[in-house]
Symmetry: C2
Subunit: 339 residues, 2 copies
Amino acid sequence: MNIGEIARRAGVSRSTVSYVISGRRPVSEQTRRRIQSVIDELGYRPNASAQALKEGRTRTIGLVIPPASQRLTDMQLGFVASVVEAAARADYDVLLSPSGGDHDRSFERIATGRRADGVILMEILMEDHRVTRLQQVGVPFVTIGRTRHPEDTWWVDVAYTELVARCVDHLADLGHRRIALMNRSAELVAAGYGPGHRALRGFAEAVDRRGLHGTDVCCADNAPAGEECMERLRERHPGITALVTVNEAALPGVQRALERAGVVVPRDFSVTGVAARHWAEDFRPPMTAADVPTHDMGAAAVELLLERLATPTAPARHVLHAPPVSLRATTGPVPASSR
Amino acid sequence: MNIGEIARRAGVSRSTVSYVISGRRPVSEQTRRRIQSVIDELGYRPNASAQALKEGRTRTIGLVIPPASQRLTDMQLGFVASVVEAAARADYDVLLSPSGGDHDRSFERIATGRRADGVILMEILMEDHRVTRLQQVGVPFVTIGRTRHPEDTWWVDVAYTELVARCVDHLADLGHRRIALMNRSAELVAAGYGPGHRALRGFAEAVDRRGLHGTDVCCADNAPAGEECMERLRERHPGITALVTVNEAALPGVQRALERAGVVVPRDFSVTGVAARHWAEDFRPPMTAADVPTHDMGAAAVELLLERLATPTAPARHVLHAPPVSLRATTGPVPASSR
DNA sequence: TTGTATGCGTTATCAG
DNA sequence: CTGATAACGCATACAA
């Protein structure tokens, strides 16, 4: 069934049906009603492909996610959920592309097949070939995260450098002198994953500025790795009294390791860092942390993209989130024995 | 840039370019090469909307997920990931529709706008209006989960009734007489959520058949709820010695509650149930459970859908997964004191 | 081996 | 207020 069929049954031309649907020109109440009743009766809806072809836009956003094979972290999931939700609110659909390496077919379809009006990219590397590719092809895009030189791209990001530095400052203020950073996985950092690098930089700078002794370790994004990592950390660096973590998925393991070692938080050991809110709140006791506002960020990414689509010549916009460190219950004064 | 532009630059007709791309008719090596080089040089890719309009198919699968506002459970996420991955392998794209209630615009776009060749639906209710709607519209679909009368729909599901019964049998064999079922949330069960109903039925039947004393409770899909629920359960039914759970998201809370109460698993208390593998393995000690093969199920759903698209007249196919209960370390003989 | 012409379902321009 | 018609970009039947 198509618009011609509706027109035929209503005894009007196809254009009139089209105008009834779009409302872009006045139609007499009488014919409007007649046409509408035929539409309702047959349950007619315009063919999206034909509309897209004619209008030159698909009302679809491409969302490039990490290869689905590896389980998405909660933060990634938070981004996906909020992007989908924000897009739906704007009556946009979301086309998912699970793309990892180079020359991914799914990515290429979205980038060059005009299947989407614009693209949202996440898990950005400092040097990201997907960003390069999208720029080359000329598809409007917004990144969640940013590359090394983000000046004239559109992005939404978390100020990892600053947040981690704030956590270090907080610990230093509490008298801690020997602290550790639990970073994301070694592979991710090696690949040039932005948050990993920026967290490390913020840690190093703050530790240096406050004259502390800092240790940093990479840790895979899961609980067992967190447990092992925490144990190894305390074993090799028995002097540390506090942890800054940017690896939320490892948190349950960190907790387990501390519990098993009989370490009481925050009496014996302090924990803080950057995490999605529910990870911080699920920690026992609730964790003092900068809560990454995944929900706002996904929505902001969509908003930026729609703005970019509406005014293609607009200068690049960025949103850098630096949420406050929410004081909960995992940080306290350095133990007297370690002072 | 379009196919005409390529044709013009290569000095051939548009059809020849089209045939070079599709390979559906022989083209002389010489012109093929000339055309290909122009295509490569300009980075030309056919317009997906035009292709879809012409061919009458979009090479896109619609995936209807729960409203994104509520965090997806790991099992749901597993389905999404595996569907996306399997679709990508078949060179299909996935269009996401976060749809909850009736008359969802995003759902309607997918159902009636011919934006997708077929649809995969998850979180199916015993009476599901989305299923009805899709049948009415005539869009091919496959459900992950099934309705009350699933005979002539296409679906992939987990045999909750049977799996829960097996868990009960296992506990009965170990001598447990008073056991509890931790179901999904009360809202979900009230809404007619299939797994909730079928788990309850399997539990009731098995408990009855083995002459046990069974208690069942609903629990929200998160750790804090699991903790509270477990505590209440032990408080109100101090006699229970084992738990069957189909609520994986509550597991960390269950674990925490047991630990806080000083209950040693499986010496004092046994735990088993249905869960995605990593939840079972993350439990301490590793949990004896029927592991839901989310990965296989998503892939199977895609496979079924593609088969249905290929042969529209084929009779309905179903896949019912009944994975074995993997013996790990959370079940043991009933404590002597409770025998 | 290649070119010409048609139509997929829409929207919008131009006439009436 | 409404209708005829020309694109949008592509694939393919038909011609040559």
